[in-house]
């Protein structure tokens, strides 16, 4: 694939103290140029671990072991290669906007760091011009005031815009956004997502968007990857997922999403139970204990079945289209 930007090949992340505890298990995923890939799953499904692994950050953590390879444009990445790419070709936006800016430095000095890192020495006049341009690009109306602010003087939404500006400073080919709007209120969330969508098209930038909200995924995603208990259970083109997800877990998630139009459902559906503890995961399909379709066969891990629109890992896929009537977002 010539369009491939970053890909994960058989990534497994386990605890050093107990290798049987796997936070992420055998995940293979490819991101292509300019594509928005959404990583969807419940809390504890390993979304954030996977996102940090793409950045090469999990690899630096103490107490965890990362197996498998991360490749960039087809070439496998070592620790130093990853460090070289960060802040140049790949950038990341985190879940807590206020916490991800260093409280001791002004917005200007933090953006200066990012710009210098990406583009080397820049004169101070040019630097200020670029910072102003970046802040305007992320929809900040008064860049000159915001530049002088410390993170605590800004709202969560403003901090997230600043973080995104910092991430864009290097003109990355891939932006990893780990639940960038979870901590923000709904109106700001919509603005930030629209902005990400715009930047993605304008800059031909690939985006990994981690979210637990399928509504968010519906808005932006080209492809949707569903994680459950550290395993990739289904991955498909966005419209394929919404029209006819094969995996019972994905179906369950879809039924949990409130519809904006169409008939009103009396109660939103829920997926009963919770994600198994990584230390106490069932053998075979991790979703089996919560799955209505589970049989004896499910104690064996189902292989990936590949279809034109996507792939899924289930012995008893649902082959009928979804019954969603109305629009999700």
């Amino acid at each position: 694939m010539t369009n491939e930007v970053l890909s994960l090949n058989g990534i497994t992340v386990s605890l050093e103290a107990n290798r049987a505890i796997r936070l992420v298990e055998d995940v293979t995923l490819t991101i292509e140029r300019g594509q928005v890939v959404c990583l969807v799953g419940e809390s504890g499904s390993g979304k954030s671990v996977l996102a940090r692994t793409m950045m090469g950050l999990t690899q630096l953590d103490r107490g965890v072991v990362v197996e498998g390879t991360v490749t960039w444009e087809g070439k496998p990445l070592g620790r130093k290669d990853h460090e070289r790419l960060r802040g140049r070709d790949i950038a990341m936006v985190f879940q807590e906007p206020v916490g991800s800016l260093d409280p001791l430095f002004t917005v200007e000095s933090q953006l200066t760091e990012s710009l210098r890192r990406a583009h080397g020495k820049i004169g101070s006049v040019e630097l200020r011009r670029r910072i102003r341009a970046l802040l305007s690009e992320v929809g900040i109306a008064d860049p000159d005031r915001v530049m002088q602010c410390y993170p605590h003087q800004l709202s969560g939404g403003m901090c997230q815009r600043v973080m995104i500006a910092g991430a864009l400073a290097c003109e990355p080919k891939l932006l990893v956004a780990d639940e960038p709007t979870t901590a923000l209120d709904v109106t700001v969330q919509a603005q930030i997502l629209d902005m990400l969508a715009r930047l993605c098209t304008e800059r031909d930038m690939a985006v990994i968007l981690v979210t637990h909200d399928l509504g968010v995924a519906a808005r932006l995603a080209d492809r949707i990857a569903v994680l459950y208990s550290g395993k990739l259970v289904e991955e498909a083109q966005s419209d394929t997922t919404f029209a006819g997800a094969r995996h019972p877990y994905t179906r369950g998630l879809l039924e949990c999403v409130p519809l904006m139009t169409g008939p009103r459902r009396a109660l939103l559906a829920t997926v009963e139970g919770s994600v198994p503890d990584p230390a106490d995961r069932p053998t075979g399909c991790p979703f089996a204990p919560r799955c209505a379709r589970a049989t004896a066969e499910c104690t064996q891990m189902p292989p990936m079945s590949i279809e034109p629109g996507g792939r899924f890992s289930c012995w008893h896929p649902i082959l009928t289209p979804t019954t969603l009537v109305g629009t999700i977002a």
Binding site: L57, R84, L85, R86, G99, D102, L104
Partner: protein, 285 residues
Amino acid sequence: MSGIVALGVSRFRSLGIRGGRTGNLLALLSALWLLVTLAALIVPGVLAPGDPTDLRPALVFQPPSAENPFGTDQYGRSVYLLLVHGARTAMLVGLASTAIAVTVGALIGLIAGFAGGWVDAVIGRVLDVLMSIPGVLLALVITAGAGSSTGVLIISVGVAFIAGFARVMRAQVLATRERVYIDAARSVGFSGPRILFRHVLPNAITPVIGLATIAVGEAILVASALSFLGLGPRLDVPDWGQLLASGQPFLVQAWWVSTFAGVTISLTVVAVSLLGDWLKDWMEK
């Protein structure tokens, strides 16, 4: 002695008069006292003209009078002159030993916290051993081994305080390195040392600075205790702890020698502690 002063200081804190108007007033009084001490340190001759080491056999054990405000000691030296000129030794030892303790301690804590693994384990055990010995005792051992002079006093008191700073720093570094902005700094592509010095150190150091202001008082106290025990600077250098010790056998005939020395040490230590506490609260606001 050090126990009593320490108790006094902790009483002040437990009374809850750190914040609010009383706290501010106490901080102001402390600052005034320290300004006087500072003046004594910089221009002792202006506050107390004369030679403090001048031995005057005719004037032995004179009670406080207009001429000798705090009386004289067994050599006829003016207690007032000795106290004013002794401020230099006290403050020098207090500040310099704290500076040594903070610098070395913070660096050790930074390395232990950031490196982790066996480095952290080894440093941690060494610190445990150091912490298990009371500061005065540790300083005493070093001074006893290396001989007594102002320089040795500074180093020994400094070394005695290193472990405390290293532990606080290590704990702060451990907390700071888990912050999202450290991950964010990594995601911008910065390497370990740069993140350590630009983001971890400045964010972790605040409580250490707060602790340092309080430690200056304690260092003065430990230094005075050591020179009380005869392990301080040479006898011809005016020193508070030494004066306290020299007056102690004559407490009944000449109460003023030890009393004024003791009050000066106590006031200074309490003032530094209160002001340090106030500064710490102010920084955390």
